[in-house]
């Protein structure tokens, strides 16, 4: 067992897979210096600049090179720096990486991991704060993963790199410094499995990424106040999502709230809400609800950012509403 940060857990996962498999390598801007958030710290010194590759500011090439290299016997880990910049490489990800296996009739595989830091973080404003997971959950051929803890960042990144299909791997910028236990000999993470972050009887909240921690705090407050005994599911993989686990929980509690940082309109919460509302129509004690950001670019000033964030007030109010 080791206590480490979410950033260090990512670095450790990458190092372990690089140790085990010489075809794993990473590419992105400034990786030699450890990456913008230190999530590659020490790796260039350990593996050399041939396997920890610092690249030009060429997102289309970073992604496209990843695709070509993945089809040529290597497992590239592509770093996009901010999820926002991955939009400079959308053709390469959506038209190429996601489709190659299918459109070439199974002749090739694209074992590519695309790391895209997401989320609001220190007044980063409209072009450095987005949570864009919903763009990728909609695209056939992509796996989408969002770890919420150091232990998960460790286990899930290893699983992503070992996946033979392309994985969009979204880490949250606010989580980099978060510390937690990372078990040495954890069971490998199985893609598509949610975690039960808290058990409860009255209400299921499905969430992911940094919002998990806000939701857990809200669940504790609700328990303290006697408002509700809440079950919190950390989805971890968005596609394929753990439908069985979510349905099982909602069948028990009869109530579902979905909470995410991304824009609610067209967010992945809509997929879960639509599915659960359809499948458990008769079992629900209350309508399925969603909570997240308004359909609004992210402002710079804290008073504006706070309007968008899922703060304690909005979470508590949503819980009260679910139980009333």
């Amino acid at each position: 067992m080791a206590e480490m940060t979410y950033a260090a857990a990512g670095a450790a996962a990458l190092a372990e897979t690089m140790d085990a498999d010489p075809t794993v390598w990473a590419l992105g801007e400034d990786l030699g210096r450890g990456g913008v958030f230190g999530q590659y710290a020490g790796l260039e010194a350990r593996f050399g600049a041939e396997r920890i590759v610092s690249t030009p500011i060429s997102e289309a090439a970073i992604m496209g090179v990843g695709v070509g290299a993945a089809m040529t016997g290597t497992r590239p880990v592509v770093e996009m720096r901010f999820a926002d910049f991955a939009l400079c490489a959308t053709d390469e990800l959506i038209n190429q990486a996601a489709k190659a296996r299918f459109m070439f009739g199974g002749q090739t595989r694209v074992p590519l991991t695309v790391r895209m830091p997401v989320g609001m973080w220190r007044s980063s404003a409209a072009q450095h704060s987005q949570s864009l997971e919903a763009l990728y959950t909609h695209i056939p051929g992509l796996v989408v993963m969002m770890p919420a803890t150091p232990a998960d960042n460790h286990a899930m990144l290893k699983a992503a790199i070992q996946s033979d299909d392309p994985v969009v791997y979204l880490e949250h910028k606010n989580l980099w410094p978060m510390t937690g236990e990372v078990p040495d000999s954890a069971a490998p993470y199985s893609i598509g499995t949610a975690g039960v972050a808290r058990e409860g009887r009255d209400l299921t909240i499905v969430t992911w990424s940094a919002t998990l921690h806000d939701v857990l705090a809200a669940a504790d407050r609700a328990a303290q106040s006697g408002g509700a005994d809440i079950e919190v599911l950390d989805l971890r993989t968005l596609w394929p999502w753990d439908k069985a686990r979510v349905l099982e929980s909602v069948r028990r509690t009869g109530r579902l709230l979905i909470a995410h940082e991304a824009v609610v309109v067209g967010g992945f919460g809509a997929e879960i809400a639509a599915t659960v509302a359809e499948e458990l129509h008769a079992d629900l004690k209350a309508p399925v609800r969603r909570i997240g950001a308004p359909r609004l670019p992210i402002g710079y000033a804290p008073t504006l950012e706070n309007e968008i964030k899922l703060g304690p007030d909005r979470l508590d109010a949503a819980i009260v509403r679910m139980m009333s």
């Binding site: 060429s58 496209g64 090179v65 390469e92 190429q96 296996r101 299918f102 459109m103 596609w239």
Partner: protein
């Protein structure tokens, strides 16, 4: 026109045969289009065969090739089975991609042909990535990356060429300059001295050649392939040619004067190759036999593709994700 009599006859007869096969394959495909057997759009490379034969034909089987929407010639010259190709164009079982891809996604990974691409210029960065992987593997393969003149106006051209030069990657970039980007003359929308100058601005050695003279193409390609293989650095070949057909099999190309096209037929690379071989003393019987063999091959290909069954619909749900199969809702 180059008129050497001291031609290496066997070598150039082989190139000639390859050009004939490409032309015949595409004419067969066009017949398939007319008969409604080819389903989607096809982009014939008629008139550009010397580049495919001269470049792709000189790659090793384990070398890697990436192509464009106009990729039948490259694919065939790299060694793909024409019957599997025709089945793919007809959307049938036994197509290279099992009927999932069609002409714009034709690929044969077994001969190192990593795909045509429906997105202009997209393969430039993918090819660069294949070369980066080769660098990591440390072997002596190279990558050949074809694209059109129009693709030099897309961002990935810059990003891929810069990358290949910075990381010393073994890629031969081949710009097939047929003068057109769909219905537009590329020169009207392309600033500066041209593709070779753009390549040179990334420090990549570039050569501009007559892409309709198989002897010129073969020589330039041989030199550059060897150089890339030895030096492990990119090189750039700019081959001028002309698209004798419309942009797609369905395009009458009325946007250019008929006289221009007639003129261009005078420069048909296959006719020029034939003239060279004639001048070198090859007997006309040899050509007759070759024509017959190629025609027979493509007739068989056509019939086999036409007779092939459709892909099983259940097949359509495979090759997506290991983690979860798609559900029809």
């Amino acid at each position: 026109m180059n008129n050497r009599r001291n031609l290496d006859q066997d070598r150039f007869l082989a190139f000639h045969r390859e050009m004939l096969r490409i032309r015949a394959l595409e004419e067969t495909a066009l017949e398939g289009l007319r008969q409604g057997l080819v389903l989607g759009a096809i982009h014939p490379s008629i008139g550009q065969e010397a580049i495919a034969a001269g470049v792709a034909g000189q790659l090793r089987r384990d070398d890697i090739l990436l192509s464009t929407h106009r990729g039948h010639g490259h694919t065939l010259a790299k060694g793909a089975d024409p019957e599997a190709m025709m089945r793919e164009l007809f959307g049938r079982q036994g197509g290279n991609c099992g009927g999932k891809g069609g002409s714009m996604h034709i690929a044969d990974f077994s001969v190192g042909m990593l795909g045509a691409n429906g997105v202009v210029g997209a393969n430039i960065v993918i090819a660069t990535g294949a070369a980066h992987a080769i660098r990591l593997h440390g072997d002596d393969r190279i990558v050949a990356c074809f694209f059109g003149d129009g693709a030099t106006n897309r961002g990935p051209f810059l990003e891929g060429l810069n990358w290949a030069a910075v990381f010393d990657l073994p890629v031969l970039f081949i710009c097939e300059d047929n003068g057109f980007a769909a219905t537009t003359r590329t020169a009207d929308l392309t600033a500066g001295p041209g593709p070779a100058a753009r390549a040179a601005s990334f420090g990549i050695a570039a050569e501009s050649i007559d892409g309709n003279d198989i002897t010129v193409v073969a020589e330039a390609a041989e030199t550059l392939i060897n150089r890339v293989r030895q030096n492990r650095k990119p090189a750039f070949l700019h081959a001028r040619t002309y698209r004798l057909t419309g942009h797609t099999g369905a395009d009458p190309a009325t946007y250019r004067p008929a006289t221009e096209v007639e003129q261009a037929w005078q420069d048909d690379p296959i006719a020029r190759s034939r003239a060279l071989l004639d001048a070198a003393g090859v007997d006309s019987d040899v050509f007759d036999a070759m024509d017959r063999a190629v025609a027979a091959e493509m007739k068989q290909v056509f019939e086999a593709a036409r007779a092939a069954p459709w892909p099983d619909p259940a097949e359509g749900l495979t090759d997506v994700l290991d983690a979860r199969a798609p559900e029809v809702a």
